[in-house]
Amino acid sequence: MLKMNNLCKSFRTELVETHALRNFTFSVDEGDFVSVTGPSGSGKTTFLNIAGLLENHTSGSYLLDGIDVKTLSDKQRSQLRNEKIGFIFQSFNLIPDLNLFDNVDVPLRYRGLSRAERHQRIEESLARVGLANRMKHLPSQLSGGQQQRVAIARALAGKPRFLLADEPTGNLDSQMAKSVMGLLQEINQQGTTIVMVTHDPELAMQTSRNVFVRDGQISEAETIMPLAAASNQ
């Protein structure tokens, strides 16, 4: 599904060159639920940005679903993001001016789906996160947990094979965090590959695989956690 080999990412300013990722080699298989942990500044977000095609890497190779993304144009990358990847952000990133329906509609519009298809998917995915009856509400009228559910619905509506979650529970209290996590696990069990970046080891324990990033490199200490620990939630 996702294969990074010897990947490097460096930022250059006039004075210094910073290496955010160094010889980063990592792969995710279809159906995995991988958590990426590490202290802040370790390169987690850079990894996420590159994995999600939000940024390009400097060297090395990255194959997403067998496609070498390095050679793609901006338009092709956008299309790939739209079709294969679903994003869940720490601060939800809902568009405040749009109601829930229109928010979930955003990626579908860029897909160029028909009106009927879009309607069906929006209703389906909002129903799936339990917010079918709030379609006309604005994000500001919802609680944080509900907002993150909308963000998940938005990610799901595009039927992505690969879900990227960036601290999905970072802005939520523990009760809400738990329910969001449960939702992610459910989605994973239905076949969607998930990579979740988090600094919370407890959350990482609930995924099928955890990698640790430090100083822009994968730490060898990979821990495989039994999936069963969380699945009975």
Binding site: K75, F89, N93, I95, L98, N99, D102, R109
Partner: protein, 407 residues
């Protein structure tokens, strides 16, 4: 195209009405001003382009004023004209009471029947001799020119008229709407209620002295010279000779007799500029207003769009992350501008027509031709789109990675 996003953009706009309303209002008022201003400009331009009939580039005139009890105006006029006409470079010259477009002159009423109860047609009167047609560069369409025997002298305070006249084609049409110009020749007309004159000839074109008069093309030439102490000479020169002759003739004439002054030596071109100055000034001022206004509105659109882009950086990054291409982001802002412009222009059409009605009501402005409205609409759509493109393009450069930043 479903990804034009009209619906969501509209709904998002409704959440941020004020900025959009401000821009829409600006566009509406800008359209109102521009369309009405352009209309006035076009009207004035057409007015200024009307031809005087003269060989304008090569004609000038001057005033000679004799003073003292023993000034013999008849002798001086005859000698002056002989001198001027024999000057190399002069095509022809006449003594005349008034100059086309100059703003001062004589006018009378003409009628096809005698009697003061008959409504008359206004005409400007030029008192000229048989050299007039050549000096005026006028073409005789029917009838004949005056002959030297036709010319009389009009004394100071003499109020009767000669019995012959040459009139312009436009005046002939107004007097005898149903006759062809050949038939008009030989007809009798009555000047000042009951004095008969016979039309001897018809010329193509000559303008009256008053550019704002609605009978501008109504001119009557009568065969007479004036024995007045103050009179004008109109002089037509060969191409390129005008300016040289203006100086040399002024000097020659001034030296000819001690008891007179030569003044107001002026070209027809200068006279035209002076008479239409008000209109050319209006055109210049309106043009400047339009340009500045368009600029201000465009800058306003750029300013507000930039602000919107800045305010929505995170949102734009998110959209990019969710799969929007750069073009899709540009399109978003362009469509947004299109929607705002549409509202502004709908209001603008109403305001434009409203202002036009007010200008008609209060001032002598005509009703707008219909095609000014769609032209104005299209123009402002284009201005709006051009102004919105810059900020839209910058919005498209926002990195999708912004979506994951939590500041």
């Amino acid at each position: 195209m479903s990804n034009l996003e009209f619906g969501p953009i509209m709904r998002a706009l409704l959440r941020n009405k004020v900025g959009a309303i401000l821009i829409a209002l600006q566009i509406a008022v800008t359209m109102t001003i521009i369309v009405n201003a352009v209309f006035i400009i076009v009207e004035r331009k057409a007015m200024m382009e009307r031809e005087s009939g003269l060989d304008e580039a090569n004609t000038f005139y001057l005033t000679t004023t004799g003073f003292g009890k023993d000034f013999e105006s008849k002798r001086v006029t005859i000698e002056d004209l002989a001198l001027i006409r024999n000057t190399p470079g002069v095509i022809d010259a006449i003594q005349v009471n008034a100059i086309p477009m100059s703003g001062s002159g004589w006018s009378m009423g003409l009628a096809t029947q005698p009697g003061e109860e008959i409504e008359s047609v206004g005409t400007a009167n030029y008192m000229v001799d048989d050299h007039a047609l050549n000096t005026y560069d006028a073409e005789l369409l029917a009838g004949e020119n005056f002959s030297p025997e036709d010319i009389r002298f009009r004394e100071r305070n003499q109020s009767d008229w000669p019995d012959l006249a040459i009139i312009t084609q436009a005046l002939a049409k107004s007097l005898f709407p149903e006759l062809g110009i050949d038939e008009v020749v030989g007809k009798t007309i009555y000047i000042g209620d009951n004095e008969a004159m016979i039309i001897k000839g018809i010329i193509d074109k000559l303008q009256a002295p008053w550019v704002g008069w609605n009978n501008l093309d109504h001119v009557t030439l009568t065969p007479e010279m004036m024995a007045f102490p103050s009179m004008r000479y109109l002089i037509r020169t060969e191409p390129g000779m005008r300016d040289k002759l203006m100086t040399s003739l002024e000097e020659t004439l001034a030296n000819q007799y001690p008891n007179r002054i030569i003044r107001n030596v002026e070209t027809i071109t200068a006279t035209r500029d002076k008479s239409y100055r008000q209109h050319s000034a209006m055109i210049n001022i309106l043009t400047a207003t339009m340009i500045l206004l368009t600029l201000i509105t465009a800058l306003g659109i750029i300013g507000l769009a930039s602000f919107n882009v800045n305010r929505r950086r995170k949102q734009i990054g998110t959209r990019r992350a969710l799969g929007a291409s750069k073009q899709a982001i540009i399109r978003y802002f362009m469509v947004e501008n299109l929607i705002i412009s549409s509202f502004g222009l709908i209001l603008g059409v109403g305001l434009t027509i409203g202002l036009n009605f007010m200008l008609i009501e209060w001032f002598a402005v005509k009703a707008l031709d219909w095609y000014y409205i769609p032209t104005g609409v299209v123009l402002l759509f284009v201005v709006g789109q051009l102004a919105a493109f810059g900020p839209a393009f910058r919005a498209a450069q926002i990195s999708p990675a912004l979506a994951t930043r939590t500041i």
